[in-house]
């Protein structure tokens, strides 16, 4: 009974991530790559994403502190951040990254700074939600996580 309850919790938590727009189709693409031999693939990719994102956020933060902004450099960092966000299906984060890049191209430093605060917020929320999600996944035990209804 406990298992069933946990699995239902996994399903509900997962669904809400999509319904609330945190994740898109790409996350499902990653789930499809999981199997018995690689049951934690999605979590492994997401963990890599956290590490990568932490580095990029630090770099962007430093770059934004400069008196004269190097928009090319900022755009370069954001291109990377947007890319990895897109690869894991981080829908909201990706959208904010797109906005940031538009401000870069327009040479709008204030827009960049403002949008970056938004990105950090969205990223922190996503990370928190995904960590909670994977925790329930682990609690529910090895399951039919690879066979989500499409």
């Amino acid at each position: 009974m406990e298992r069933t309850r946990l699995r239902r919790q996994v399903a509900l938590t997962r669904q809400s991530l999509f319904d609330q727009g945190f994740l898109d189709e790409q996350f499902i693409q990653l789930e499809d790559l999981q199997d018995d031999a690689n049951p934690n693939f999605v979590e492994e990719v997401v963990t890599l994403y956290y590490r990568d994102s932490a580095r990029l956020i630090t770099n962007i933060e430093k770059a934004l502190e400069k008196n004269s902004l190097d928009f090319n450099k900022l755009d370069g960092f954001m291109h990377q951040f947007k890319g990895s966000s897109s690869s894991i299906g981080a829908k909201k984060v990706k959208a904010e990254c797109t906005l940031f890049r538009e401000y870069c191209r327009a040479g709008n430093g204030e827009g960049c700074t403002r949008t970056f605060q938004q990105i950090k917020k969205e990223y922190a929320t996503l990370k928190r939600k995904l960590e909670a999600y994977f925790q329930v996944v682990r609690q529910a035990g090895p399951a039919e996580t690879a066979c989500w209804p499409k």
Binding site: L33, D35, N38, V45, R51, D52, G83, S84, S87, G89
Partner: protein, 162 residues
């Protein structure tokens, strides 16, 4: 019990009628993937492995050239034994872009016949044209999906009768 990969390989061999000398059921389809992103490297590796490919992943164009023995260094191991069936490279990479890597590969007599696929998150027509003109097999938009990999592999294996 046959794995999905084995079934895919068997059905491909049946449908395509792969001849001896080209990629047969016993030889693996070897893909060299190039991407500077940790996340994308992990994903592309998995996409390729699930599609029954042998995978070598490197993080830069210069590493790719090193692997192929095209970096000007005398390679102690005869790279003539290196069988690569496909190169998939990210476009935007620091140092050497995927386009520059594509050019170097197409300039090499040893490797110019190997199909090169460019991957990019940016849908820029001039960029796509330039890559295709330089001899890229395809230009696919990231994020790369399993269906992209399967389609590309089918196309390349199917065209092996040339």
């Amino acid at each position: 019990m046959a794995t999905a990969g084995e079934i895919l390989r068997r059905s491909l061999t049946d449908e395509v009628g792969v001849s001896k000398g080209s990629v047969s059921g016993s030889e693996e389809f070897h893909v060299l993937a190039v991407d500077d992103s940790f996340v994308d490297r992990k994903v592309i590796e998995r996409l390729l492995k699930i599609s029954s490919c042998k995978v070598t992943v490197v993080e830069s164009g210069s590493r790719a050239l090193q692997y192929l023995g095209l970096d000007g260094e005398k390679s102690s191991v005869g790279f003539n034994d290196l069988k690569i069936n496909l190169i998939m490279t990210d476009y935007s990479m620091p140092g050497m872009t995927g386009y520059e890597l594509l050019k170097k590969i197409k300039e090499s007599s040893a490797f110019r016949e190997i199909p090169v696929v460019i991957m990019s998150s940016e849908n820029i027509l001039t960029r796509i044209d330039r890559c295709l003109e330089e001899g890229a097999e395809e230009y696919i938009i990231k994020p790369v999906k399993l269906s992209d990999v399967k389609r590309i592999k089918d196309v390349i294996m199917g065209g092996d009768g040339k």
